[in-house]
Symmetry: C2
Subunit: 118 residues, 2 copies
C-alpha cells in the first residue's frame, strides 16, 4: 500500500487518506524523498484532513520527513490537522513548532508560494 | 482500498497510482461522484500516469465516470495516458473522443481552467 504523490509544477501534493500503519508511513517517507529528488521539487504539501488518529511512531515519522525534506531543499507545509490529532500531538509533547501549517490544501499551497518567494 | 481525491479550489485532483481492480474502480466512481456533490466542484483532473495497463471493464468505468461527472456539471480531463494504455483503448475501439486529455496534471488543470472560462 503506497500513498500517491501528485506533482503540480514544482510542488508535490499528498493527501493521506488511509490509516497510516508503521510500514506505510516508512514507505511514504522513502517515496516522498525519492520523488523530491527525481522531480527537483521545492515545496511539499501534506494534507492530513482525513487522518483522525496518530500515534507517537507516526508522529515521529512525519516530523522526520519534514526535517529530511527541508534538508534536501524542499519546504513542507502540513495541512488539515484535525482537532483530535492536534490534541494527541500536544499530549505527546510534539509541537511541530518549526513546521508551517495551514487549514487546507489550497491555503497550504498559498503558504508555500508565499514562503518561497521571500 | 480507496483512491484519494484531493480538493484544490473548485477542482478535484485524482492520481491513480494503484492497479485498478473492478471493485476499486467502482468504489472510485462512487467516491468521486459523492465528492463532486459535496464540494460543488466544477472540474476534475484524473491522472493516469502511473497506470500502465487497462482492461475493458476499467475503461468502461472510466468512460462512465466522465459522463456521470459531466452530467452533474463537472468537467473532467484525463491526463498522463501511457502509450500502452492508449494502444489498448484504441484496440478495444474506445476513442474517448469527447473527453479532453492532457499530458500531465499541470496541463490538465490549465486545460480545465481554459475550458471553464469560455
Amino acid at each position: 500500500m503506497r500513498i500517491p504523490i501528485l506533482k503540480l509544477k514544482q510542488y508535490l501534493l499528498i493527501s493521506i487518506q488511509v490509516e497510516l500503519d508503521d510500514q506505510t508511513a516508512l514507505q511514504f517517507q522513502e517515496d516522498l524523498l525519492n520523488k523530491i529528488h527525481e522531480e527537483e521539487s521545492i515545496g511539499v504539501v501534506i494534507d492530513l484532513t482525513s487522518v483522525d488518529m496518530i500515534d507517537s511512531f507516526i508522529a515521529k515519522v512525519l516530523g522526520d520527513v519534514v526535517d529530511m525534506s527541508n534538508m534536501m531543499g524542499a519546504r513542507v507545509v502540513l495541512t488539515g490537522i484535525q482537532p483530535s490529532v492536534a490534541i494527541t500531538l500536544i499530549d505527546m509533547g510534539i509541537k511541530l513548532e518549526e513546521v508551517p501549517t495551514a487549514l487546507d490544501l489550497e491555503q497550504g499551497l498559498a503558504k508555500l508560494q508565499m514562503e518561497l518567494e521571500v
